[in-house]
Structure formats: C-alpha cells, structure tokens
C-alpha cells in the first residue's frame, strides 16, 4: 500500500473514533427523548359516559398529578359491560358505571375492591348513597357514587305549562302530537311508563301483568312520538323546537340547554321521577390503581364535586354536603337552579325523602333482552 493511499484510507483506529462520534451524535436525541420520557405524564385509561375525561373535568387533576387521561366513551350500561368484557384485564384503570350495572361488573370480576376509609362517606347527603345497592358485597366496597340526577318530564316552556308538565299525562297532550321525542334507550322511558301506571313501589320489578300494562301504556304513546334520538339528536331537537317534550331525560340535558338560553326545563312529575346514579370503580388488574383511587378522591372533594356539577357535557347533583356548600359558594345560580340549597322545593334530597324518586334499575322479573325487544317493537309500531 503506498503512503498516499495510506493517508487517504481510514485506519482501524480512525474508524473506531469516527464510529464512536457518530454513535454518540445519533444517541444524543435518544438521550433527550429518554429524559423527556421520564417527564411524560402517566396515562390513565378511563371508561365513562361522554364528558368525564374532558378538560373541564380533568385538566387540573392532570396538571397536579402529571397524568394524562385517555378516555373511552360509551353510551349505555350494556355497551360499557361489553367493552370491558372484550378487553384484556387491566385495560381500564377507572370505570364510571351507572349504578345499576355495578353489580354485574362485580359479579363478572371486572372491578377491584376499594377501601371505604378512602372516601368521605360520612359527608354524603343521603344515607342511601353510603350503601348504594350493588356497591358493597360481603361487606366489601367495590364502587363509590360520585354524582346523580333526576329524570322526569322535559318540556318546552313556551308550549307546556309547569302544571301540565307535572304529570307524565302531558306526553299524551294533543298539543304535543308528533312532538314528543325519546332518548333512544329503553330503561328510562319504560321506568317512567311504569311509574305512570302506578308502580311506584318498584317501577322495575314488574310481574307479567304489570309488564303487559306498561307495554300497553307505552304503545299508546307511539302516535305522539316524533323521533328517537341519541345524545346529540336529543340536544338538537329540543333546542331547535323540533321536539317540544322529551321522554327519558331530565336536567342532564335540559340543564345544559337552559344555561344556553333555550326555553326548556325538566320537572319531577307527581307520579315520581327516576334517579340516574354514576359511580366510580377501579378496573381489575389496573397497574395505576393508586392514581385512579386518587382521582376518585379528587372527584369526591368539594372542588371535584363542583367540577362534576358544572360539567360541560351534562350537569349533575353533588353527593357530598361539602360539595354542595362549595357549589353554593362559587356558583349560587347553578345551586339555586338545581335546588341544591336548603329548603328548595326541588331539593334532590327532599324529593328522595318524599318518596318521589326511584333509583333506576335493570328489570327484575324480565331480562334486559325482553325490554329491548319490546323497545324495537315500539320503535317499529
């Protein structure tokens, strides 16, 4: 090899030095990335109704605890159960469930045991909420109630008076022919029809004869019905006046529209209303159970309760006294609108104690399939 050639070629030593330099240069961004990774927020997988993982609810918790919510939204308890059933254990860290489905979550082994001492049960606004049906099993806690709301007659104030709306009878009012809408889910509507039929002791626990009567009553409403709507459709149709009354909903929809200036509202009629109840659970085998638990505690704190009460997607009542007090402090108008002030006629606790509220449940003597079958039949009638 000539000297010239030697000087132009790269020696083994040069190669090692050069390679080391190149490798270091290439590794530098990786080092940066891995340092960044150390600061990356922890992902929390949330399974919930729409709105619960949105910034108005979770952003402050995310910032404080360096977590990032990854929400998966569902519509209806069956849908929630199916999503969990079809996912491997540990997929969801936090599960928001309608209370009537907690029992099924528990029986299927989809949720973790909780420590009751972690939550402010002593501060709950009603005794029933401390020991909500299905939330405890064999003395162990599996789910904690965080918010609730009441369903009744939702109506357009320009068409229907408060007096007319004080009974489910108003859905059959000739002024509403073709203008009664349905939230497209059988449980709330059939519960209301059951109450209208006088099954106030147990609207979801119907024997064969009572169930037949509920079907008959519901069918008689069909000529009044203008449509069956999902969440967005319910909002739109009430807002633009296409529907003047809505069966199967309550303040969780009209409250949002009311704040937006639409002439709609909801009342619990004389036959009684249905309560929807949302509870948090921790998913089985969650690797982030600790932070999930802290989020549940956050949502039960006075501040978290206000976030829930003012949730942009749909408002709810607070479950703790401290939460209600905080709401009155920061947003008295909303507290008054929703009756969360002492002595209000529509105070949610007063309504429960007067026996006018019935907790939504799954059918006790029929299967969900029977009720759904009838719902399909009703929609086709």
């Amino acid at each position: 090899m000539s000297d010239k050639h030697k000087s132009e070629s790269i020696s083994r030593r040069d190669f090692v030095v050069l390679s080391g330099g190149v490798a270091s240069a290439m590794a530098f961004p990786a080092i940066l990335t891995s340092r960044k990774a150390l600061a990356d927020p922890t992902e929390l997988n949330l399974l919930a109704w729409y709105g619960h993982g949105e910034p108005d609810v979770v952003s402050e918790f995310e910032a404080t605890h360096n977590v990032k919510f990854k929400p998966k939204y569902y519509a209806g308890g069956d849908n929630m159960l199916a999503l969990i059933a079809q996912s491997p254990p540990g997929t969801y860290d936090i599960i928001l469930s309608d209370s009537e489905f907690v029992q099924q979550l528990n029986e299927a082994g989809f949720i973790e045991n909780l420590n009751p001492e972690d939550y402010p049960f002593d501060d709950f606004i009603h005794d029933d909420f401390r020991n909500f049906p299905g939330h405890w099993r064999d003395g162990n806690l599996y789910s904690v109630m965080v918010r609730f709301g009441h369903l009744g007659v939702a109506y357009n104030r320009n068409t229907i008076s408060e007096e007319e709306a004080s009974s489910y009878r108003c859905f059959w009012n000739s002024k509403l022919t073709g203008k009664v809408g349905h939230f497209d889910w059988h449980l709330p509507t059939l519960g209301m029809m059951s109450l209208y039929n006088g099954n106030s002791q147990s609207p979801f626990d119907l024997d064969g004869a009572a169930w037949d009567e509920v079907k008959k009553t519901t069918m008689s409403l069909r000529p009044q019905v203008g449509g069956f709507f999902d969440y967005g459709g319910t909002f739109n149709s009430l807002k633009n006046g296409e529907m003047l009354a809505m069966c199967g909903i309550g303040d969780w929809i009209t409250g949002v529209l009311e704040k937006d200036g639409a002439p709609v509202t909801s009342v619990v009629p004389e036959e009684g209303g249905i309560q929807w109840t949302e509870s948090y659970c921790i998913g089985k085998d969650s690797k982030r159970a600790d932070i999930a638990n802290r989020f549940i505690q956050y949502m039960l704190s006075p501040y978290g309760q206000v976030r829930s009460a003012e949730m942009a997607a749909y408002p709810a009542f607070c479950v703790t006294k401290a939460g209600q007090a905080e709401l009155r402090k920061v947003n008295m108008a909303e507290a008054e609108r929703t009756g969360q002030v002492p002595g209000a006629a529509n105070n949610p606790v007063t309504l429960i104690e007067e026996g006018r509220i019935h907790y939504r449940d799954i059918p006790r003597q029929q299967s969900l399939e029977d009720w759904n079958d009838f719902w399909s039949e009703y929609k086709n009638a």
Binding site: A108, G227, G233, N240, N372, W375, K379, N380
Partner: protein, 283 residues
C-alpha cells in the same frame, strides 16, 4: 397449447391482486360474519357455537320484517327519485353542452364527496328544521311551516345528498358515449326528441342508467346516517336495527343475522340488475 398455458399465467398474474384483495377484504369478513351469526352471547362475550337460535329469533320478530320492508321501500323510492331527477341533468350534460363544460360539471359533482357525509347531513338538518332555511323561504311565499325533519321525506333528502351526484355522473358518462350517428339516424327517420330518448338514448345508455340506479339502491339500503339523523329513526331501518341490536346486550350475532340478510338481498338485486343491464336484446 403451450402459448395458451403462458397466456393463462400472464392473465392470472394480473388477476391475482384483485383475487387476493377480494379474498382478504370481502370473502373472509363475509365468511366470518356468516359464522358469527351462529355464535352465542354469554355474559356480554361472544362464544363460538353453531346454533340457529339467532336466525330463529330475528326471523320470528315482526319488527325485523317491518324494518326489512321499510328499508327496501325507502331504497327503491330513493332509486326512482335519483334516477328520475338525474336523467334530465345527465341528458343535458351528455348532449347539450361542450366537452369542457361537461368536464367542469363532473368536477363540481364530485366536490360534495370531498366533505364528510355526516357533515352534509347535519347541514340538511339545519335546512329542514321547522325554524330552518327551507321553511323560512316557504314562509315568504305564504306556505308552511312544514314538518320535514324526522319524516321519510327527510330520509329521502338525505339519500339524495348521498347518491344523486354519483347517479348523475354515471348516467352522464354512459350517455356521453352513445354513438351520435344513432341519434342522427333516429332524427332522420322522423323520430321526435321524446321518441329518440325512449327508443335510442335509454336503450343505448341502459348499462349506465342501471348501474347508476343500482349504486343508489345499494348506498341507500345500507345507509344509517340519513334514517337516523334526518328520519328520526322513526320507524327504524335495518341499519338502525343493527345498531339497536348491538347496543343492547351486545348481540353481535343477531346483528350479523340482519347484516347477512341485507347482503343476500343486495346480492340478488345486484346480480339481477347487472344481468338485465348486459342482457342483449334477441334479434
């Protein structure tokens, strides 16, 4: 015989991608869907089985057949409306404008497909609402207001938004390729404009007209958005029944029964239509 053998390999090579594609993305999912229709659901989980219970359950329900007839009826009505509404426009574009204008017209007919169908349907929601633009215009003429949303009328409007531009394009392309000498011959033989259309243009453009109508039928029959958002799900079509069935109890196998029935119906209709389109008149 050897050249023929080479020819087959050559042809097969070119056909292979289509075969693979169809097998992977049509036949395999279809077979799975058919198999799924025999599965069972236990505790919200699908369990592999071979049971006829889902078929018996769905076929024994009146609401299934009501939805079936409704879906067929609405799709047929949409097909008639789209074909009738598209024909004058297509005729004009094929015979009465320059090539340049026709190209621009086809371009403009494609533009609606640049936006999401769902967005277009929500625009119609605003237009058709009781206090919407359509009733506002009619109000100036002293008419209305009419209830248009949550009716079959609104569903058909939605189907038109989905299919009409496509039907116009297919009809136009078909008629633009008709040999002009045939039309001139008809005129020379004394046929008037209407007679020429009936006796020459329609038979000569038959394939395009039928394929356009077929696409309209297929898209309308399988559409969920218009009957749900504009028709108010009142009463539900088969597509809405599929979602209802999956929402409650996660009955995917029963939804598969509905879907397979829809597929079978479409296959019979599509096969008949194509066969009719390419059926040459006997001498």
């Amino acid at each position: 015989m050897k050249p023929r053998h080479n020819m087959d390999i050559y042809a097969l090579t070119w056909r292979l991608p289509v075969l693979v594609w169809q097998t992977l993305f049509f036949i395999a999912p279809l077979v799975f869907m058919i198999a799924m229709s025999f599965f069972l659901v236990k505790n919200y989980r699908m369990v592999e089985a071979f049971e006829l219970v889902n078929w018996m359950k769905m076929f024994s329900r009146d609401y299934f057949w009501d939805s079936y007839v409704l879906s067929l009826g609405l799709a047929a009505l949409a097909t008639i409306c789209a074909t009738a509404l598209a024909f004058p426009a297509s005729y004009a574009l094929a015979f009465m404008v320059s090539d340049n204008i026709r190209r621009w017209a086809i371009f403009f007919l494609i533009i609606p497909y640049f936006t999401s169908y769902l967005v277009r349907i929500f625009s119609w929601y605003v237009l058709l609402a009781e206090a919407g633009i359509a009733n506002g215009v009619l109000g100036y003429l002293g008419l209305g207001p009419f209830t248009m949303l949550n009716t079959a009328f609104a569903t058909i409007v939605g189907y038109m938004a989905l299919t009409l531009p496509l039907v116009v394009i297919l009809q136009t392309l078909s008629m633009a390729n008709i040999d002009r000498s045939l039309i001139e011959a008809a005129h020379n033989l004394g046929a008037g404009r209407l007679r020429t259309i009936v006796s020459v243009v329609v038979p000569a453009g038959k394939v395009g007209l039928i394929v356009g109508a077929l696409f309209c039928f297929i898209l309308s029959f399988g559409d969920f958005v218009s009957p749900y958002y504009l028709g108010g799900s009142k009463p539900p079509t088969l597509t809405i029944l599929i979602t209802d069935t999956t929402k409650s109890g996660q009955q995917w196998p029963r939804a598969a029964v509905v879907a397979v029935t829809m597929m079978a119906t479409l296959m019979v209709i599509a096969y008949s239509a194509i066969r009719y389109a390419y059926n040459r008149r006997q001498p």
